[in-house]
Symmetry: C2
Subunit: 360 residues, 2 copies
């Protein structure tokens, strides 16, 4: 219960330590410039009173809020959540706080998880929720915005935000908007490594279960897959796009079972891979003896699926840190010229859902 007793201000600290509030301000912002003796006295008063600077006042005066906006999709299940955590930690260390904003309403997310709804809007039209979320963030007075897991529908929001404040995107899309830096995992490469691994295990035909067409990550993985099968000369097919959910992986794999199985199935993420494994198990198809299965993300638990899932691990935490630091650079204005795209390498994790590679 707050005793409604006003929080101590600089004036209180100043009165208690017998200096002016300006000196208190200096102790906080440029400690070197104030005499050690005075500094200690002020510091003691700060501790005694439990004084913390009023952020609103500081923000008002400096026109910098020390707030960064985090725009993320509501389906925070696998990587995005970990990335967000890393971002927040790095931000706190740098003296910033993170304003969370989700796009795609909670209702959407729930429905998506529960029954596989929320198909990507094929034409990439922005959803109503996106606009509201983006607008709310810009209006909040954040110093910069970090956009995570962007899909096509978010582009207008990003572009609008970038017009007024710095934006860094965490995405697989090289250039989301002019002047917007992008930090991402090289999804294209991850997908290629999957196919190369499969080829080395003797696989001659692969089916890819893509993610939603309007998601950049899904697109990059699809493209990497197509390029790899091309350069390796193996038969690659692509099903209709899924929606990241296990159910879609299940259904698409059922389609494959009906039309004829390939040597391997490469799902766009681990959840779809789980669905695929389930469908195969139901039909008595053995993994990896009859069909190899690969996922993407290295979700918690992937190692303990049956069989242990070969997948692609992404450095989500590093990604978050990197994105935040890039944003801070832009905020500090040290480097006005955008870096463009920075990519981090993913890591193929070979487990038991694919056959061992032939030792030459």
């Amino acid at each position: 219960m707050a005793p409604t007793t006003r929080r101590p201000s600089m004036a209180d600290v100043a009165a208690r330590s017998g200096v002016s509030y300006q000196t208190v301000s200096r102790v906080l912002n440029e400690p070197g410039i104030v005499r050690p003796e005075t500094r200690d006295r002020v510091q003691r008063a700060i501790d005694d009173l439990g004084y913390t600077p009023n952020r609103a006042a500081r923000a008002l005066k400096t026109t910098r809020s020390s707030l960064i906006g985090l725009l993320t999709d509501g389906s925070s299940l696998f990587g995005p959540a970990e990335t967000a955590t890393a971002i927040e930690t790095a931000a706190r260390e740098a003296g910033y706080s993170v304003l969370l904003t989700t796009v795609g309403t909670a209702a959407d997310a729930t429905a998506g998880a529960a029954d596989g709804a929320r198909r990507g809007t094929a034409d990439g039209a922005p959803r109503a929720a996106d606009a509201s979320a983006g607008a709310s963030l810009i209006g909040s007075g954040v110093d910069g915005i970090l956009v995570v897991a962007a899909h096509e529908g978010m582009l207008p929001v990003v572009a609008a935000a970038a017009a007024s404040i710095p934006v860094v995107a965490v995405s697989a899309q090289p250039t989301s908007a002019p002047g917007v830096d992008v930090v991402g995992v090289d999804q294209h490469r991850g997908a290629r490594e999957v196919v190369h691994h499969l080829a080395r295990t003797g696989v001659r035909t692969v089916a890819h279960l893509p993610g939603p067409a309007d998601w950049f990550d899904a697109r990059a993985r699809l493209h990497g897959f197509e390029q790899a099968v091309e350069e390796l000369g193996i038969a690659g097919t692509t099903t209709a796009p899924g929606d990241w959910t296990p159910r879609s992986g299940y259904e698409l794999t059922c389609g494959l079972l009906a039309s004829g199985l390939p040597d391997a199935i490469f799902a766009a993420n681990d959840m779809m891979a789980i669905g695929a494994l389930h469908a195969l198990d139901e039909h008595g198809v053995r993994v990896p003896q009859d069909v190899a299965v690969v996922g993407y993300d290295d979700t918690v638990g992937a190692e303990y699926l049956i069989p242990s899932l070969t997948t692609v691990s992404q450095p989500f935490a590093e990604l978050g840190r990197l994105a935040l630091h890039r944003l801070l650079e832009v905020l500090d204005g040290a480097d006005p010229a955008p870096h463009g795209t920075t990519t981090l390498p993913p890591r193929l994790v070979v487990r038991r859902s694919t056959r061992p590679e032939r030792t030459h």
Copy 2:
């Protein structure tokens, strides 16, 4: 790139529409009190200029920041993430923004996911990260704090925060701190329902794989389990506590395999259940024929595990909304007396990892 051109202020809007800034303020805050004609004129100026109120200034003057702090654990993988999304959405609808703060560093979270580290501190001692995170939140000038997925180590932080601002905990612990409202899912009941279901399938011996001892949810589930086996007169045993990870579920189940299997294994969450399934599969134990397995959370993908996992679904989204609205009530001061604990019922989801219930 920002053209560094100052954002329009009320004064600009006032000048453009030929009124005083006070009138602009009124149009924004009490539109009813201003003459329709004037209001339209001001509104047009607002739209033309793209004016948005300066939050910092408003916060400074009103001493309310319209910010609520969300204190959540970094291991946001299953429920917490969905709860956070629901909270954010509900907050935005109510005109609040959410300041995200995670406890347990990103490094911790990564390590935890990767190798099953981060055992709960048995004695409930607060971790360094918690204090830092909590302090940062209080210092940020948030109007209130929502604590999600609390464990023992967070209590000091909650208590400290509650001394100065309203706090609502999303937790299984009835009273985390004096004056702190608690909104939670009835974990005790969920666990009991699991055991009752198992009993109806003919199970006579059950082993529970508990979560970390310092997590309230884990404790409540354990307690519910113990009470149910007691009242049903079936043999219940409890292993050493796990740490929510698949690995811990795997290892504990290996221990069970060595010492003798029960009829059923009830894991504290789905991840540990995944580990259990894996261990059983490795040893050729059939589920549910030889041993039934139950998880908790109804994680995305649980339905598509092999076999499809019987688990307990929690209304995470509703929980988030409820917690936020409760906090808003406290903030509005309409109801200074704390409600105490509000619990939501979980829902048992019977799938294929347990045998069918006997039809009488």
